[in-house]
């Protein structure tokens, strides 16, 4: 198993290298440069030239690339032109927020998706099944920002049931040792702050988690349907094995393989998909910062964050592959 993991990590190197080249070319091909974004509309051509020189944007693209990769390998992701702070620092500041949101969305998606999918499969062909299939189709097709906007408008602005923006009521004076607000509230005993952070997570988590939820429902349903009609389940039933054993050991466990893959892929998507949700809910995470970085052509931030996301994606994939081994021993052998 360790060899498999080691190999997978080695595969990461050429993948990330290729990605870094594509990424660099893409980011540099965005229209315009960051100089106007930094200097504002009062910028004179001379001032723009000076900024380009200062940040090295006037050098040949190959040179810029090698300088960037060189500093990347030394752990230097450069500084954000928007804030003047180091990209790593900015990332460290915002990542807990995004991770907390992604976890909340994942809990929502998995917590509802697997039971719903299973439920639909077991009632195959009945009204409940049709309902689950139709609802999940709507869930998949609805754009994240639209759902976010509707949820916010109805439940925060009109009804006032839940907060409309941010991670915490600004008036709450809480301490944040880890940056994960719910956890912080529990660790420091400020349960009021933890509860407030949970309230702030509900709407964005639903918005962000709806597409993964719908996908998980469909995959789970399809997988359970396939497994429950398979020969070994029929044989098991014929042999008189108890229903509980068939359900848990035969059907549930064996149908989870594609579901785990899906959940893994969706987790990566949650982090990158947070861009729109965070923007709508003014949620101060990586996603919102990315969106701003695109508008401001903050190269260092864009490049740094995408590399981070790529590494995250690769690690999640690795975790998914490893988990296969536990779910299905045949994978381990092959």
């Amino acid at each position: 198993m360790l060899r498999v993991i080691g190999k997978r990590i080695l595969y990461l190197i050429p993948t990330l290298f290729g990605l870094s080249i594509l990424l660099f070319i893409w980011v540099r091909s965005l229209p315009g440069g960051p100089a106007v974004a930094i200097l504002g509309e009062k910028a004179t051509p001379e001032a723009i030239a000076r900024i380009n020189e200062l940040y090295g944007f006037d050098r040949p693209i190959f040179e810029q690339y090698f300088v960037w990769v060189g500093s990347l390998l030394q752990g230097n992701f450069g500084a954000s032109v928007m804030s003047g702070r180091l990209v790593l620092e900015e990332f460290a500041l915002r990542f807990p927020a995004t991770l907390e949101l992604a976890i909340a969305a994942l809990i929502f998606a998995v917590g509802f998706g697997i039971p719903l999918g299973y439920w639909a499969a077991r009632r195959h062909g009945k009204a409940a099944d049709h309902f689950a299939v139709t609802a999940s189709l709507i869930g998949i097709t609805i754009p994240v920002f639209f759902l976010a906007f509707i949820l916010k408008y109805v439940f925060a602005v009109q009804l006032g049931w839940l907060p409309s923006d941010g991670r915490q009521d600004p008036r709450i004076d809480a301490t944040h040792p880890t940056g994960f607000y719910v956890l912080d509230g529990i660790l420091t005993g400020e349960f009021d702050a933890a509860w407030d952070a949970i309230l702030h997570l509900i709407l964005p988590a639903i918005a962000l988690g709806t597409i993964p939820l719908a996908i998980i429902v469909r995959i789970t349903r399809a997988s359970v349907l396939e497994v429950q009609n398979s020969d070994y389940v029929r044989t098991g039933r014929a042999k008189g094995i108890s229903r509980g054993t068939i359900r848990n050991r035969f059907i549930l466990r064996n149908s989870m393989l594609p579901v785990v893959t899906t959940v893994g892929l969706q987790t990566g998507l949650l982090i990158s998909g947070a861009v729109l949700t965070e923007k709508v809910f003014a949620y101060p995470g990586v996603g919102q910062f990315m969106a701003d970085a695109i508008f401001e052509r903050d190269y260092a931030v864009l490049q740094g964050f995408i590399i981070f996301i790529a590494i995250g994606y690769a690690l999640i994939n690795l975790a998914v592959d490893v988990s296969y081994g536990f779910i299905d021993p045949r994978v381990r052998v092959s």
């Binding site: 229209p31 315009g32 440069g33 100089a35 106007v36 974004a37 930094i38 200097l39 504002g40 509309e41 009062k42 910028a43 051509p45 001032a47 000076r50 900024i51 200062l54 940040y55 090295g56 230097n76 450069g78 500084a79 032109v81 804030s83 003047g84 702070r85 180091l86 900015e90 500041l93 039971p115 439920w119 077991r122 916010k152 408008y153 925060a156 602005v157 006032g160 049931w161 839940l162 907060p163 409309s164 923006d165 941010g166 991670r167 009521d169 600004p170 008036r171 309230l199 509980g244 359900r247 923007k279 709508v280 809910f281 003014a282 101060p284 919102q288 969106a291 701003d292 508008f295 260092a300």
Partner: protein, 555 residues
């Protein structure tokens, strides 16, 4: 057959439903309750939505509105602004005297003022600040950091020939004399900018305020600018959570009136719709730059919508590099074809004034009797015929898309309105919309490929050169003309130390511009602010000089 999972599922659903009800109850309790435990009948925490994080907490290294908004609470300058106007007024300096040659200014300082770190504000501190700016080197001199000092004082200690600043002497504890190398009529007004706020020399040194950036590629802010801003203002810095909020607390030792607000929270909410919704959902008390389309709805819903006195100008530029627009008759025809009143009432926010020249009426040199071009479509057609276009002509019309500026809240609507007015007199326009940044600005300012275009300006402080000098001070791609007489007049006016003499010069310049007619000043749009109904009054200022100790709250 499926009893157990079904029951579990139902139990789960029930738990969620109960949870939702509890959440609802808690959320509404929070909304209604506020700080019920406190004895005070007013919630003294004021939450304002900013569109961006401050660029840093050291205003000397800043030039953007959001940084200045925070700075104005923490810092004060020698010179402030007369409330509700753009005119300079005493602040930390009670008065000042100018020497006969116009080059030296002696400031008499307010007594008994201390910085937030407990050190005295005195003449030594004033000189320490001036000397700090003058002695910046390397990266600190770059436009992205010290834009205002660089552009107004022209040079630093390592290039003294160009510098406007010469020296500062502390005559005694309460008198400081600043000497300039050349006349600078805007000197006093410029000092009202937060970039020239007085900061504690002790704190500046202790937290190494000037150590910006390790390398040129990765400039980083100093420890001072990240966490230790130390001024004399009514609020002291508490915390900054980047991307989230800046928190300030009342300065208990403030020399002036502390006011009701004891805590300010600047929440960062980038999206304008999200800002409006944050106000509607009660998570903030107010925000700036309300979209014109939202003002009426917010007012109807009981929110306090306020307009700043306009300190802006929106104009229709005419690029004379285009042969048709180089013809004065065509430019005059266009001027007669535009119905500014209709534009203002149809697409610009409430409080907007029609413009007759390129500066707002409160700015020095505004000329009552400037030449104007009445709305007269018939005359416009005649002028076009006279210019050799009896059947009309076609012109490119550039405008920005997906952007809202204080002076141009809705460029697409302004474009549509003007385009139909022009078409009514036979001028066909070819629409050319570009994203604001950088495509639009690059196109207008970086080359000759544009015709009619929309642009404008918000003044930084009361300085005429900050408007007309910026627009017409030299040859530029935007306007495409060479008018040495105008350029020289502007240079002379900028260098005049006597304000009365300067006023006359600028009045003449405004007439010169009106006759030359390089573009059409359209309007002075008024930026709007919106507040929760508990905000009884807010010190709205044309130049954004709004200090929150003057806010009056009712709940």
């Amino acid at each position: 057959m499926l009893h157990t999972p079904k029951r579990r599922l139902l139990a789960g659903a029930a738990a969620i439903a109960v949870g939702a009800v509890v959440l609802t109850a808690c959320a509404s309790e929070r909304g209604d309750g506020g700080d019920t435990g406190e004895a005070s009948d007013v919630d003294s925490t004021f939450v304002f939505a900013a569109s961006n994080d401050p660029a840093g907490l050291d205003p000397a290294f800043a030039s953007d509105g959001e940084t200045f908004r925070v700075s104005r609470q923490i810092f004060e300058g020698l010179v402030g602004v007369e409330p509700g106007t753009a005119d300079p007024a005493p602040l930390l300096a009670e008065s000042w005297e100018q020497s006969e040659d116009g080059l030296s200014y002696t400031f008499t300082l307010k007594e008994g003022v201390t910085f937030h770190d407990g050190t005295d504000f005195d003449a030594e501190a004033v000189c320490a600040n001036f000397d700090r700016w003058y002695n910046w080197t390397g990266l600190a001199q770059s436009e992205s950091l010290s834009y205002y000092y660089g552009s107004l004082f022209k040079g630093f200690a390592d290039a003294p020939d160009a510098a406007v600043y010469e020296s500062c002497t502390a005559d005694d504890a309460t008198h400081a004399t600043v000497t300039l190398t050349q006349p600078f009529a805007g000197f006093i007004a410029a000092l009202s900018l937060p970039a020239f706020s007085m900061q504690s020399p002790t704190a500046l040194a202790e937290y190494e305020a000037d150590s910006v950036g390790g390398t040129e590629e990765s400039p980083t802010l100093s420890e001072y600018a990240n966490a230790h801003p130390t001024g004399t203002g009514p609020f002291v810095f508490d915390s900054w959570e980047p991307g989230e909020q800046v928190t300030l607390q009342a300065n208990e030792d403030y020399w002036g009136d502390q006011g009701q607000v004891q805590e300010i929270i600047f929440r960062t909410i980038g999206d304008p719709t999200a800002r409006r919704q944050a106000l509607e959902s009660g998570s903030i008390d107010g925000y700036d730059l309300v979209a014109p389309a939202d003002t009426a709805a917010l007012e109807d819903a009981g929110y306090n919508v306020m307009q700043r006195d306009p300190f802006t100008i929106l104009y229709l530029g005419m690029n004379q590099a285009v042969p048709e627009l180089a013809n004065p008759l065509v430019r005059e025809a266009i001027a007669h074809a535009i119905d500014k009143e209709a534009l203002v009432t149809q697409v610009l926010p409430e409080g907007t004034e029609v413009a007759s020249q390129f500066i707002p009426p409160v700015v020095t040199g505004w000329n009552e009797d400037v030449t104007t071009y009445e709305y007269d479509p018939e005359k416009a057609k005649e002028l076009l015929a006279e210019a050799g276009y009896p059947d009309g002509l076609t012109l490119m019309f550039n405008y920005p898309t997906n952007v809202s500026r204080p002076y141009m809240p809705n460029p697409e609507q302004i474009f549509t309105n003007l385009a139909s007015q022009l078409e009514a007199v036979g001028i066909t326009v070819t629409p050319a919309g570009n994203e604001w940044n950088p495509a639009y600005l690059d196109r207008i300012q970086g080359g000759a490929d544009h015709g009619l275009h929309l642009l404008g300006w918000t003044g930084d402080y009361n300085d005429t050169d900050n408007f007309v000098g910026v627009f017409f001070g030299q040859e530029s791609n935007e306007w495409g003309f060479d008018n040495p007489e105008l350029f020289e007049a502007l240079t002379a006016a900028r260098g005049t130390a006597d304000i009365e003499e300067q006023t006359a010069q600028y009045q003449a310049i405004n007439e010169m511009i009106a006759e030359f007619n390089p573009g059409i000043p359209l309007a002075h749009p008024a930026p709007s602010l919106a507040f929760d109904s508990r905000v009884e009054s807010y010190p709205a200022s044309p130049v954004n000089d709004e200090v929150f100790n003057q806010i009056v709250l009712t709940e």
